[in-house]
């Protein structure tokens, strides 16, 4: 309940902030009666009303039985996972697809309960395989990054 109230309040504040941001949006000259700010403002207003209702009367969340409770351990794992994904995005171009994939794929496999050696082998093979599949076979260009020297 409390989490929902907090979430709804934060989103509500975001709505207000975005609405303030949208207020000055005006076409320099225009031939139509509805300008660029009407639609987003309408949506934000409706969302704000719905969120306001939610702040005061949050609906209970129905948990299914097999849904485990969020504990500290899981939250840390999720934090690490997000961090790994961010590292992936950050190193994708500078280090290249293959290196970045191996760099985050192996720790990620560990996170999901894999052992070091099988994780390292499978992820490395998959990274190289996916590179060949997409870049060479399917014409989706992927950066090679530090492995650029191998190309020529």
């Amino acid at each position: 309940m409390l989490i929902q109230r907090i979430f709804a309040s934060v989103l509500l504040l975001a709505c207000i902030g975005l609405a303030l941001m949208a207020w000055p949006y005006q076409a320099a000259f225009s031939y139509e009666p509805v300008g660029p700010r009407a639609f987003p403002l309408l949506m934000l207003a409706l969302m704000g009303l719905a969120l306001l209702y939610m702040v005061f009367r949050p609906a209970p969340i129905v948990h299914s039985d097999d849904d485990p409770k969020l504990d500290r351990e899981t939250l840390t794992k999720i934090g690490i996972c997000v961090l790994l994904l961010l590292v992936f995005a950050g190193t994708f171009e500078p280090l290249g697809f293959i290196v970045a994939s191996i760099l985050i794929g192996v720790p990620m496999a560990r996170l999901y309960g894999g052992r070091w050696l099988p994780s390292a082998v499978i992820i490395s093979l998959m990274a190289i395989g996916l590179y060949l599949l997409f870049d060479k076979l399917m014409d989706v260009p992927l950066p090679l990054g530090v492995l650029d020297v191998l190309e020529n």
Binding site: V62, S101, V140
Partner: protein, 504 residues
């Protein structure tokens, strides 16, 4: 008779060797994607959009590929729900109720082939319905002006909330988030930059593929972290693989009934496969009465939801093709794919590009037949895929998702944006918000705004145009009914509860 001629032409397109191979690849990829945890029809189709584009497939082949993947995903979800008792997605929950007990009885092969058959009949009925009604609807839809379209989309959004049942407010908020996100980027009419924060990568708006993969793949990856315990052992599919004639005949009436039901539910915006399968199962259970063994492996209990899902999946394509208004998350993704090819679905599509429309309809037939045939030799391989452990699977899903996003614009900004959206999606999921309305809102948002502005330009700013024509007025009445439905349901629940207290 025109229609039959067009259909024949469509089969000509679908049965060309190139498109047949495309459909075969699509059904195979779709089945595998549907099998794997963490990937469903929505991200399956979304991942293939940039790839289909990069491969340079012509539009009709791309659409056939996506439709085949869609059907394949539905089928793959079935395998995990029957053999593992884990529904791959919401719509297959009903399949587990009788499918898993059947598999436990040693009828796994029969259950799988029977479900494929049921789904085929459902899809067949729905496709026939589509052939009959879609051209009529398309003809009628030409009478739609911008005002009518706007009101229709309002109805579609409200329908989502009205039909979703237990959490109308959250559905509504989710749809509004999507509607709002669609307005990010440069405004096409006035050239004003909206909500970009001077970021050059947002000028174009949020990329559709980025939103879909963030919301569905990344949030699923995070969600899978909570379930590190290893799943149950899959039931071995041994013995007889094919259902026999007696079994097919026993469920035939159920098939017909649920197929029609599924088609109708599929056409309605917002209802979709989940609701169709639940209603079909409940109805059949009631019809069978005490004689049925529903929940203990009754074949009718397996056939009913499967037929309805098959019918609804194809039925959902009707509003997408004729009106350009998607009714479900997956069809919303397909509209996104079409817009990449610069094709605007809508009534004119039937006249201008009959090859695409009828080729797609015909390829649905073809893909369904393929799925029934594939089932028999491939099932052992598919069950082996189920044994792939999460630790090997999830990083690969993450990497492929990254490729899919990078393929659109080749900027790492999109990767960061996807992660941000993924975290937001994860929070929404934990708070019990449904995610597909966000997607639907995002797709409808742009159309809605354009139509609203066009309508008000026509009337020179007078709001009356939004309710003066009979079509708009009718839509508003329906919208009001949809808005009242959840209230009515809550009110009835309360009065029942009060009576129960009074009785005690």
């Amino acid at each position: 008779m025109d229609t039959l001629g067009y259909l024949g032409q469509g089969f000509g397109v679908a049965l060309s060797p190139y498109n047949l191979v495309t459909a075969l690849c699509g059904t195979l990829i779709g089945t595998v994607v549907g099998l794997l945890p963490g990937l469903g029809p929505i991200n399956g189709v979304a991942l293939l959009i940039p790839i289909a584009f990069a491969l340079g497939l012509p539009p009709e082949s791309a659409l056939i590929l996506l439709a085949a993947v869609y059907l394949g995903c539905e089928y793959g979800g079935r395998i995990s729900s029957i053999l593992l008792n884990i529904p791959g997605e919401a719509s297959t929950v009903m399949t587990t109720l009788d499918g898993y007990p059947m598999a436990r009885k040693g009828l796994a092969g029969v259950a799988l082939s029977l479900s494929a058959w049921s789904s085929f009949i459902g899809a067949f009925i729905a496709t026939c319905g589509m052939v009959l009604f879609a051209p009529l609807l398309a003809k009628w839809a030409i009478a739609f002006g911008p005002a009518e379209y706007f009101v229709l989309m309002v109805f579609a959004i409200v329908c989502l909330g009205g039909m979703a049942g237990d959490r109308p407010l959250k559905t509504f908020i989710a749809a509004l988030i999507g509607l709002f996100l669609s307005s990010v980027g440069i405004d096409a009419n006035s050239g004003v930059y909206r909500f970009t924060g001077d970021n050059i990568h947002l000028t174009d708006g949020i990329q559709f593929v980025v939103l879909v993969l963030g919301l569905f793949s990344i949030s699923e990856i995070l969600l899978l972290l909570e379930k590190t315990h290893h799943g149950q052992e899959a039931v071995k599919a041994t013995g007889r693989m094919m259902f026999n004639f007696k079994e097919a005949a026993a469920v035939f009436v159920v098939n017909i009934r649920c197929g029609v039901l599924g088609f109708i539910m599929g056409v309605l915006p917002g209802a979709g496969a989940t609701l169709a399968s639940a209603v079909a199962y409940m109805t059949e259970k009631r019809i069978a009465g005490a004689k049925g063994t529903f929940g203990q492996g009754d074949m009718r209990g397996l056939a009913a939801p499967e037929t309805a899902i098959g019918g609804a999946a194809c039925g959902a394509l009707v509003p997408m093709l004729t009106l350009g208004v998607p009714g479900s998350g997956t069809t919303a993704v397909m509209i996104g794919a079409l817009s990449l090819y610069n094709i605007t679905p809508g009534p004119l599509l039937f006249q201008q590009q009959p090859d695409i429309v009828w080729g797609l309809i015909a390829s649905l037939f073809v893909a369904n037949v393929m799925l029934v045939i594939l089932n028999i030799p491939m099932i052992r391989i598919f069950t082996r895929i189920l044994a792939v452990p999460n630790w090997a699977l999830v990083p690969v899903i993450a990497i492929i998702t990254g490729i899919g996003v990078y393929a659109v614009h080749a900027t790492t900004f999109d990767l960061f944006l996807m992660i941000g959206i993924g975290i937001f999606g994860y929070i929404l999921r934990k708070l019990d918000f449904p995610l597909s309305p966000v997607l639907l809102g995002f797709i409808l948002g742009g159309l809605m705004e354009q139509n609203l502005r066009r309508a008000l330009s026509i009337s020179n700013g007078a709001l009356e145009i939004l309710w003066s024509s009979p079509i708009t007025f009718g839509c508003w009445v329906l919208t009001a009914i949809m808005l009242l439905m959840p209230l009515l349901r809550i009110w009835r629940k309360r009065s029942v509860a009060r009576r129960a207290i009074a009785d005690v």
